[in-house]
């Protein structure tokens, strides 16, 4: 497993460097400007960008016989899929931590002029990006193993649209259930946790699905 994770890391590192510079510059501009709109965009975009990078190594691998070669290594097919999900999780968590750091610094520098409901809004922004990242992976990987590397670009777009749709759909359902009145902190955090748990469960189901697809895949 260690070797597979290293392989994924080497596959992603070039793109990570570029994305990291982009996100870093975005973060620094945010720190300087203190723009509220920019803060929301930064929080919701940065983590999914990092997560999409985890998928980029699959595309790069497909140009050689490496996908076939990996099956001859002393690893199970399941481990190959698992390593991809672990890499995706690491990048999603890393992106979330990165976002949390910049959000905290922005609030420290410019004061809390951003969050009407205080901490819960900040947590929503931080976790929101993470949830999107997890959902993108949950949709993308089974599609990748089913359709192959040639469709990576389409899969990336579909998974981003799918993840946003799921989050919006869940939010609409929660709003309908909670009604028009003010939502208490307890209810709000419960809903947020439920969405997070839903995303994690979907990620786990996606892993099982990807594994079963990959077990039948021929190279």
């Amino acid at each position: 497993m260690r070797g597979l994770l290293k392989n994924n890391f080497y596959g992603m590192i070039e793109n990570i460097k570029i994305a990291f510079v982009f996100v870093l510059v975005f973060g620094i501009v945010l720190l300087i400007s203190g723009s509220a709109a920019m803060l929301s965009a930064f929080c919701l975009i940065s983590t999914p960008i990092m997560a999409v990078l985890a998928m980029s190594c699959l595309r790069k691998e497909s140009s050689s016989k490496w996908e076939k070669y990996k099956l001859t290594l002393p690893v199970k097919r399941n481990d190959i899929v698992k390593s991809q999900y672990i890499s995706h999780s690491i990048l999603s968590i890393g992106g979330t931590v990165f976002v949390a750091l910049f959000l905290s610094c922005t609030v420290l520098i410019h004061g809390n002029q951003y969050f009407y409901y205080g901490l819960r809004d900040a947590i929503t922004l931080i976790i929101g990006g993470g949830i999107l990242a997890v959902l993108i992976g949950a949709i993308a990987y089974p599609l990748y193993y089913l359709l192959g590397a040639g469709k990576t670009e389409v899969i990336s777009v579909l998974s981003v649209i799918g993840a946003i749709s799921i989050v919006l759909g869940l939010s609409i359902i929660i709003n309908m259930i909670s009604g028009d009145g003010a939502v208490s902190n307890t209810l709000y955090y419960t809903c947020l946790i439920l969405i997070l748990v839903f995303a994690i469960v979907l990620f786990a189901v996606s892993y099982t699905l990807s594994s079963s697809i990959f077990k039948k895949k021929e190279y």
């Binding site: 260690r2 070797g3 002393p74």
Partner: protein
């Protein structure tokens, strides 16, 4: 006899093509080199895919060191080194990074041995694989396959991208490998001169079927070609004919026992044969 590899009635079909790997059977004794020869598209890579489980067979059995290998047989895969034709590894990696990946994958990965091979092959550890020539990538793949101390090497057209000098060096490395006790090689190739140099056994595959599997010395010393006229050909005993091919002025007939043929057909010119010629007769010729 113990076998490193034993295939029995291996069959594989594809939904998207008419090609059929049809009941392929052969066995590679431990300590020997099997040349697996056939024209492009004959089924060599499909057979190797079924051996390594990158392709799933429809029926038949594949035993590696007397064990059927399934996905969970990680230990068995530790003992196999594989080299495919072309780009085995992604171009964005360096040999150094590949070494680290393999270190985290194989229990017996030998970094010192890997570096020794790379030095011998004059490959730069820090250079991206995408910058390597085809010959260099093949050398890297061979170094990688050897560096975890496998007992069985499976080489799928591993020498095809190399110039004659480099091919010769590689063949020497394979001979070194197989000189160690219990080491075996399955070498798929259409370069028959390579097989003549190192193979102990040769298996011919054509259109997804094994058409002959034989000890190389038997092929070289006992097989022969009769250069017949039409009338002479008509008098031949059909049991003696392995395959024949009609040429412009003569009929070439492959026989499996030169001494018997010399006695029986004293008036016919009988020539020694080569693996190349045998393959041509088996593939392009006809059977009785």
């Amino acid at each position: 006899m113990d076998y490193a590899l034993k295939l029995q009635d291996l069959t594989k079909t594809y939904d998207s093509s008419d090609f059929i790997l049809d009941r392929v059977s052969f066995a590679l004794p431990i300590g020997s080199v099997m040349g697996f020869v056939g024209e492009n598209g004959a089924g060599k890579t499909t057979t190797i895919g079924c051996i390594m489980n990158t392709l799933f067979r429809d029926s038949g059995s594949v035993q590696i060191f007397e064990k059927e290998m399934n996905d969970s047989d990680v230990e068995l895969r530790e003992s196999i080194g594989i080299v495919y034709d072309g780009d085995n590894f992604p171009g964005y990696l360096t040999a150094e990074q590949l070494c680290r990946i393999m270190q985290g994958t194989y229990k017996n990965w030998d970094t010192a041995l890997f570096k020794k091979h790379l030095k011998k092959f004059q490959l730069n550890m820090e250079q991206k694989i995408s910058k390597y020539s085809k010959g260099m990538t093949m050398k890297l793949a061979i170094a990688t396959a050897l560096a975890h101390h496998p007992k069985l090497l499976i080489l799928d057209e591993a020498t095809s991208g190399l110039d004659p000098v480099m091919r010769d060096e590689m063949l020497d490395i394979f001979l070194d490998f197989v000189s160690e006790p219990n080491h075996s090689i399955l070498l798929s190739s259409h370069i028959t001169s390579d097989l003549e140099k190192i193979a102990d056994y040769i298996t011919f595959i054509h259109d997804g079927r094994i058409i002959l599997t034989e000890a190389k010395d038997n092929l070289i010393y006992n097989y022969a070609i009769l250069r017949c006229k039409e009338k002479q050909f008509a008098l031949l005993d059909t049991e003696d004919i392995v395959a024949y091919r009609k040429r412009e002025y003569q009929i070439d007939v492959l026989v499996s026992d030169k001494k018997v043929a010399e006695k029986k057909y004293a008036s016919i010119t009988i020539d020694h044969t080569t693996i190349d010629e045998i393959m041509l007769l088996l593939v392009k010729g006809e059977r009785v």
